[in-house]
Symmetry: C2
Subunit: 226 residues, 2 copies
């Protein structure tokens, strides 16, 4: 469902900054993959390309059979709206919308009717422990609470592909476990998950851990057991 072929991403800044240095990756439908690597090694860049938020400098990124470089800006937005759920490393919540309204946003674009939308948003916020914070604005929430709103929003439409960029970085162990259990349920329903994390114990929830360094892949671990 996701295929990267010798993908490069470079920025022209001073000299050239190479964020991805020839990355290949295949994510079959329903797979659960974690990505680990040093700060600055290209993980968020990788997710941004898969999420069609950016295009590669070279190489090919295919999502659901389509080369994202062939898509217009409109079609990329459509792909993101229907098939991809993105949890951003810096949350990126709409500052003038409440937690509930932030989670409803993808459902508005997907044209869900009002009652179903509210019910879905509230159920997800409840699931991540924010049942008593639904009317709070982002600046009235703690760091980890904002992170959880971002997670609920990413899962709102139950998207085929979930891209989670360090979803537990701002929460305690217990809250992190609840987030991982929510992702596990999503995976059990057949969704594809790509999870970037700095924490080994979080990565081990996946079936496979891909290690990156300096924009390239290093070794890959298969996580045994169920």
């Amino acid at each position: 469902i996701v295929c990267l072929d010798d993908v490069r991403k470079e920025y022209a800044l001073g000299g050239t900054v190479t964020a991805l240095d020839g990355i290949g990756l295949s994510l079959p439908a329903g797979s659960y993959t974690a990505v680990m690597g040093p700060s600055g090694s290209g993980k968020s860049t990788l997710l941004n390309l898969i999420g069609a938020l950016d295009t590669p400098t070279a190489g090919r990124v295919s999502v659901d059979g389509t080369d994202i470089a062939d898509l217009s800006e409109n079609d990329r937005a459509k792909l993101r709206g229907t098939k991809i759920g993105f949890v951003f490393q810096t949350f990126n919540l709409m500052p003038r919308l409440s937690a509930r309204e932030n989670v409803e946003l993808p459902l508005v674009f997907a044209e869900w009717d009002t009652d179903r939308r509210t019910e879905r948003a509230e159920s997800l916020l409840d699931r991540v422990g924010l049942g008593d914070r639904m009317d709070h604005m982002p600046q009235e929430l703690s760091g980890g609470q904002r992170q959880r709103v971002a997670i609920a929003r990413a899962l709102a439409t139950d998207p085929a592909i979930v891209l989670a960029d360090e979803p537990t970085g701002n929460v305690d162990t217990e809250t992190g476990d609840e987030i991982m259990s929510l992702l596990a349920d999503t995976h059990d329903r057949g969704n594809t998950i790509l999870l970037v994390t700095h924490e080994r114990r979080i990565a081990e929830h996946a079936d496979r851990i891909v290690h990156v360094r300096d924009g390239r892949r290093e070794d890959t671990e298969t996580i045994g057991g169920d």
Copy 2:
């Protein structure tokens, strides 16, 4: 050097949201204290009060012998500029300044001369592994790189009190260790450190771990040995 006496912080939102529910805390000069607790338990609120960014609803916050409620907005800014270094959970970098310029900012306010300022900023950025990222703007940096700029900025004036809100949440283990080594050196020179973290192994670098839950203190652990 820092003393909290039965501090409460409440927000009027819908009903009343209690962020801190009667917290007492004493940080002697040169102490190294970690704070752990669930997401939403009041840790960032605690740091904001100690950092004189906010005032309590009830109770007293004293920093360096002064009750911060007695200070004018100007004097609080002066206290922050001279005595407190703050690493924010969400970094709060100036978006139109480069990494180097962000780190120089406290030194500009402290009226350091230009050459010393640049030398100090570059040396700190080098120390956190950003020697080749000094000209990058925040949006041209990874999440963990922004976090490291925030740390360098907080330490720029070598402030008497360092308040670090989850300083390793966005970086890998190795980079996290480098950050902790920088904080250890700061502590060795006699600075006072208060570190909020969700990671046990990070908290254990401190001499004491204060646990909080629902805006109150729970148990406190003394970390033995060196």
